[in-house]
Symmetry: C2
């Protein structure tokens, strides 16, 4: 009746994450830096104006070039496979295929693919999942031009690049308690306004069991009511209402 959804353990995941973050800001050189004169960049964002802005910014740089533009995650993966860009700029929430899934698919083809997530969402869970999936950088769309360009250079050079305030959120997430997959199931149904009984019926467990899960969720998220839990989870990017 029960299925193990998370194949890797928490400690395994966090150890991997530490390894990924260890290179941040240290200036550690790439193990195999591309020899091309220009850094080729793939852009993936469903917002026309954002794509336009990135193209404009990159075209202005003599040491960079735009390799292609994707309007969703599926397209991003296809274009990546075709052109193998040096660096990929990727939004998180896109139609067809979301950013995290796109990162995972790309990294199935190349473990060392250099991907920067450029998005508006700053929830700790969003950041965590992106880095966990293999993103080398995480930037918000209000990032200044220079910082964006610097990040592209750094990621291209093999570094990991996450601004301090986002890294702090990430640290919070890592140090804080993790919701189990079952608890997330319950949380999602809670967010739909379902009662404990309805949740139980959906998940084929008793109402009492649902209550114990809800209790665990409250304790881990440090909230008192289900409404607060849903609001919190939405803000953190744990669920998208």
């Amino acid at each position: 009746m029960r299925t193990k959804k998370e194949a890797v353990s928490k400690s395994d995941r966090d150890a991997a994450l530490s390894r990924k973050l260890s290179g941040a800001g240290t200036g550690r050189a790439s193990q195999r830096a591309p020899k091309k004169s220009r850094i080729s960049v793939l852009i993936a964002d469903d917002h026309t104006v954002v794509r336009e802005g990135l193209v404009s910014l990159i075209r202005r740089k003599p040491d960079m070039s735009v390799l292609g533009e994707a309007t969703n995650g599926r397209e991003a993966v296809e274009l990546w496979k075709q052109h193998r860009p040096d660096v990929t700029l990727l939004d998180l929430r896109m139609p067809e295929l979301d950013g995290v899934s796109a990162i995972k698919e790309i990294r199935e083809h190349d473990e060392h693919a250099r991907i920067i997530v450029l998005t508006t969402f700053d929830g700790d869970e969003d950041i965590y999942r992106a880095i966990q999936a293999g993103a080398k950088g995480y930037l918000l769309k209000d990032v200044p031009r220079e910082a964006l360009m610097d990040s592209i250079h750094r990621v291209h050079a093999g570094e990991t690049c996450v601004p301090v305030h986002l890294a702090a959120k990430l640290a919070e997430r890592v140090s804080g308690e993790t919701l189990s997959s079952r608890e997330i199931d319950v949380l999602k149904l809670m967010a739909q306004g379902k009662s404990n009984k309805e949740i139980g019926a959906t998940l084929f467990i008793s109402e009492g069991t649902v209550k114990s899960h809800v209790k665990a969720i409250f304790a881990k998220m440090n909230v008192i009511s289900r409404t607060e839990a849903v609001a919190n989870a939405t803000r953190r990017g744990l669920i998208q209402l």
Copy 2:
């Protein structure tokens, strides 16, 4: 103890809204079209890449020019007063001063200011408030280039420009029931996970009164639980959690 927060009545507001929307898509000519050869555009968005994209798109057009860029609502109002642009492109959620407030301030100086809201939020309440404040257009950031340019031209010519799918949402909002200001107060506190008793203590009213408001909110929003109400309200842009 009680203050009247909404000075204008519902019927007044909706009548005004109907007047504003009546010109949409009819091609009605402006009453006083500017005589300059180029349409001067003011850009206001806190996202660097979006501003960059808009500048890039507009610079490409021979009949348009960028008059200035603002990174928040306060700056947008200042720049508008300085340069009096033909058309203003404005994001909704910005630091310092939000988009709706900026629109209101600008229209205090010029009743006929031509403002287009360009944002990612498509909640009916967001759209309603923007149009209500006096926006002549409402576009999402995934709008194609041509549609954006067309909208700038149309708004400059004095038309109102709201895409059909957004206009439909707006119609839903207008036809649906309106929450009173007090009900919104309660809803906001509900979203923070507060109990009826706590809400009562915060608003200096009895718990019974809170329950009455909560009941009214459920009925108007057509939901059963407070969690559902908060999720719904957030999605619609009624509250920002």
